[in-house]
Symmetry: C2
C-alpha cells in the first residue's frame, strides 16, 4: 500500500471541528504545500489570505450568511460557513488562463497536507456570498485580496471532532477509455 495514494483515497470533507488550535508549524506546512501547486505557465498567479483571527472569521461568516439571505439561499439556523474551524484560507487569483484550475490544485494540496498532519479540512465556496454585501473593492479589502485579484474559493482547517469516516460513494460511468 502506498501512503500517499491511501491518503488521497481517504481524504474527505470535515464539517465538525474540535476547539484545538493548529500549530504554527502545521499551518506553515499547509501553506507551503499550497504554494507548491502547479500553475499554468508557472505563473503562480495566486494569493492566499490566511486567517486565524476568530473575530475576523466570524465577521466573514456573518457577511456571507447575510449575503445568502439577501439572495434567498436558505440554510438552517446557526449554520456557519466555516463550521467554526480555527483557520480559514481565502484563495484569490489574477484572472488569466486556467486560474481556477490552478486554485483547485492549491486547495487539493492544502487539503492533503492537512490530512497528512492529522487535520481535517473543508473547501468552502460560500465565501463568494460576502460579495452580496457591498462593492467588490470593499469586500476584497475585508478579505485582504490584492488589487486585480479575484476571490476564487476558500478552505477551512481544524482537528476533526469525529473519527475518520469513509469518503462518499463515487459516481459510476464517468471514465471512458481509448485503448
Amino acid at each position: 500500500m502506498n501512503e500517499t495514494i491511501d491518503l488521497i483515497l481517504k481524504r474527505r470533507s470535515i464539517r465538525n471541528f474540535s476547539k484545538k488550535l493548529i500549530s504554527e508549524a502545521d499551518l506553515k506546512s499547509i501553506v507551503e504545500c499550497g504554494l507548491f501547486a502547479p500553475s499554468a505557465r508557472n505563473k503562480q498567479n495566486w494569493h492566499f489570505t490566511v486567517i486565524t483571527n476568530k473575530d475576523r472569521i466570524e465577521e466573514i461568516n456573518n457577511l456571507a450568511i447575510e449575503g445568502m439571505g439577501r439572495i434567498g439561499v436558505e440554510k438552517e439556523e446557526g449554520f456557519h460557513i466555516f463550521y467554526h474551524a480555527p483557520v480559514v484560507i481565502i484563495i484569490s487569483s489574477k484572472i488569466e488562463g486556467f486560474a481556477e484550475v490552478n486554485t483547485g490544485c492549491v486547495i487539493e494540496n492544502m487539503s492533503l497536507a492537512a490530512k497528512a498532519l492529522g487535520l481535517g479540512s473543508c473547501i468552502i465556496g460560500q465565501t463568494k456570498y460576502v460579495y452580496q454585501q457591498a462593492n467588490k473593492a470593499d469586500m476584497n479589502h475585508v478579505l485582504k485580496i490584492p488589487e486585480n485579484y479575484e476571490h476564487d474559493i476558500s478552505i477551512c482547517f481544524g482537528y476533526p471532532e469525529k473519527g475518520d469516516e469513509e469518503a462518499k460513494p463515487r459516481k459510476e460511468n464517468v471514465v471512458d477509455y481509448i485503448l
Copy 2:
C-alpha cells in the same frame, strides 16, 4: 518528515518521458485518485477520457498543433503537446459552480498519485487548441467528451526520462495573514 508532504513539495511537471509503458494497475490507481477528488456539493460533475492509444494521442497532438498555427501561437519545430507521453487523460465537466476548481483537484490528485508510483506527469492546457479545427461537437466526439460537458484541461503521464529535478522557485509575498 511526512511522506505525503515531502511528495507534494517535490512534485514537478515532467516534459521528458521514456518509452516505458505504464502498467494497467498504476493507471487504474491514478484514475481512482482522480475520482476521489472533492467536488462542490459532491456533484462529481466530471468526465475522464483515458487515452493509451498512440495513434489517437498523435491525432490529438496534430489537431492541437494545427489549431495553434491557425491562431498564430508559435512553438518550436517538432513540439508535441504531450511530450510523447504514453498516457493522456482529458478532463471535462458539466459547467456548473466551481467546475474548474473541481478539475484542479482531480488533476492534482492524479499528478500526486503518479509521483507516488514513480511516474511523472504534466498538466496540459493546449488540448484546448483542437477546438480551432472544427465545431465543438465534432471535436468533443474525437475527445470522447459527453454531451453537455466541456473540455477543461488534460494531463499526460509516463516514466520520467531524467532524474528528479527540483521544483521551480516559488514567488514571494503572495501570502497575507490576519492573526
